[in-house]
């Protein structure tokens, strides 16, 4: 591919701009960054609009914007499960998470494991929740780099060999530096720019491409019939239908359990800010839904037959479909803007994810098990350092581990993180559960889920046979049910035996 100087210049200019913004953010709503909740939660001071940009930038990542259309491009309708998924998350956000916000605000909790520690008085359960969060987030950070790599490569920059890795390394050093110095304030501020660019890009695409092709109908007409709908299930099976539904539901249950989602929620200035956002954030789902259709637009425009794009598809596979469509349809200067939007869209979640995992490590492993007597300043310092280590780890991961493993690990991440649901979400409503029962439930779900995923060749959907009917079901949902069953039964037993552990919270903490 030829180096596109115009696109690259626009891209670099925007990158320099957000770098400056990232460092400037330290002064914004200035707080004492030697306190973990100031560095890692922005002082819990973000109002409705900032939270809208922050959580929007956090949940709808560059990887999503590249990968979801890629699935539609390659496999068709199944990839659209991202839409029901991102509809179902918001009733959950509205009902459940203001409760977490209020109890966290009252007791100074920074992570979900903090809450579990206080609620169930069991540090090993809290450790399980913390470790699951860190483990599930690492491959997610690595995948953000994939999004960046694709757009950098699409501008004609060589992305193989050491020189090819250099742009990513530079981007991550910048990211690491401003995260270290500004904490959560940096991605919050950059998210505003990123989302403005993303909205601009998507609107340009959904106006220009249908005009070029002669209407929306022309796009769908160009898509092969088999890709347009879910395959009709064979006799005796729910086929793609139960796969689609369970993927949407399982992903929705898992999403807000990730440390980076919790960080976004806890940085809000009140529970009402969270509630308002549950009604406002679906604007991003609409964006994602329209962007998903870019996969079909890429089919309709015929990008796969364009010789100048063949090299990109060879290197990045279907993940190249969105960049390919942008290259095929827009002038260079706009390509620069669109690609910068995607690349910055990788930095924002990567920053929040690394902050969230750093918070978790520091609070729930370092302070709990390694240095219980640490001062607030030491705690904050440790979190800053850990955020660097985590980003370094993600870089190493993406350079030395085949991409396939990152994808597998991210799938496993969803199966793993959902196992913290009984402790975190059900724990917000009831103290019925016993800490050790939850621990064993978690362990069961975690190990059975990992085994099923492995035995299933890392395909997310496992065929369950019940009374002669086959229900292909997302492994996360299956193992969550198992986890809950184990937790309930063992809670009855353990509670009957006595000692229930100390609950540091009182009912009025939850509202």
């Amino acid at each position: 591919m030829k180096l596109d100087w115009v696109a690259l210049s626009v891209f670099i200019a925007l990158f320099i701009f957000i770098t400056g913004l990232g460092f400037f953010a330290a002064r914004w709503r200035r707080g004492d960054l030697d306190q973990l909740h100031e560095w890692g939660l922005g002082g819990r001071r973000f109002g409705t609009l900032i939270i809208w940009f922050l959580i929007g930038g956090d949940l709808y990542t560059a990887y999503t914007f590249i990968a979801v259309p890629a699935v539609l491009y390659g496999a068709g309708a199944l990839g659209f499960f991202a839409v029901p998924y991102t509809v179902m998350i918001y009733p959950l956000l509205y009902i459940v998470f203001p409760r977490l916000w209020s109890v966290a605000h009252k007791h100074g909790y920074v992570t979900s494991a903090d809450f579990v520690r206080g609620r169930f008085g069991n540090r090993w359960l809290a450790l399980a929740v913390a470790a699951t969060g860190i483990l599930a987030t690492m491959p997610y950070i690595a995948l953000q780099l994939v999004g960046m790599q694709v757009v950098i490569g699409a501008m004609g920059v060589e992305t193989s060999g050491f020189m090819g890795d250099l742009p990513l390394i530079i981007a991550f050093v910048i990211l690491a530096a401003f995260t270290y110095s500004s904490g959560l304030r940096a991605p919050a501020m950059i998210a505003v720019v990123k989302d403005t660019l993303i909205y601009l890009t998507v609107f340009a695409i959904i106006i220009a491409v249908p005009m070029h092709l002669g209407g929306i109908g022309a796009i769908f007409n160009a898509v092969p019939k088999a890709k347009l709908l879910l395959a009709t299930p064979p006799d005796g099976s729910w086929g793609a239908l139960s796969a689609y539904g369970s993927l949407a539901l399982g992903s929705a249950c898992a999403l807000f359990l990730y440390p980076h989602s919790i960080t976004g929620i806890l940085s809000s200035s009140s529970g009402r800010v969270v509630r308002r956002n549950a009604a406002m954030l679906p604007a991003y789902s609409m964006l994602l839904g329209l962007l998903a259709l870019v996969g079909f637009m890429a089919i309709a425009v015929g990008v796969s037959a364009m010789p100048e794009l063949a090299d990109g598809f060879k290197r990045y596979g279907n993940n190249f479909s969105v960049p390919a469509l942008i290259l095929a349809m827009f002038p260079s200067w706009f390509v620069g803007i669109a690609f910068a939007a995607i690349a910055i869209g990788a930095l924002v979640p990567a920053a929040i994810m690394s902050i969230a995992t750093a918070n978790t490590y520091t609070r729930n492993i370092y302070r709990e098990f390694i240095n219980p007597g640490c001062t607030d300043a030491q705690e904050s310092k440790m979190a800053k350092l850990v955020s660097l280590v985590i980003k370094g780890g993600a870089l190493v991961f993406i350079f030395f581990v085949p991409l396939q493993y990152a994808l597998w690990l991210q799938l496993l991440g969803g199966v793993w993180i959902i196992q913290t649901m009984p402790s975190v979400i059900l724990g917000l409503y009831t103290r019925f559960f016993h800490g050790w029962a939850l621990f064993i439930g978690w362990l069961t779900g975690f190990s059975v889920g990992s085994y099923l995923a492995w035995a299933n060749n890392f395909a997310p959907v496992y065929p369950v046979h019940v009374f002669g009917t086959t229900f292909p079901c997302y492994i996360a949902i299956l193992t969550l049910l198992l986890n809950i069953a184990v937790s309930v039964v063992l809670s009855v037993v353990f509670n009957a035996l006595g000692d229930r552990g100390k609950d540091a919270t009182v009912p009025s903490d939850y509202y």
Binding site: A77, I216, G217, R275, L293
Partner: protein, 70 residues
Amino acid sequence: MSDNHDDHKPVTPVLWARLLLLLPFVALLWVSSYNRIEPTLAGFPFFYWYQLLWIAIGALTIGLVYKMER
């Protein structure tokens, strides 16, 4: 949209309104009800416009519940 200082007052849940929040789950998990092409809308097959429509319905429902519980 401005954030008021009564933001910290506990909300009183309105139960019947909260039941509305179940609607998107029922509609979207009933996959066979929308896995079809017809009727199309402005060129979108049913499968696509119907699910996109639920994004808006979901948001409006949450907005309504928020108003009810203020």
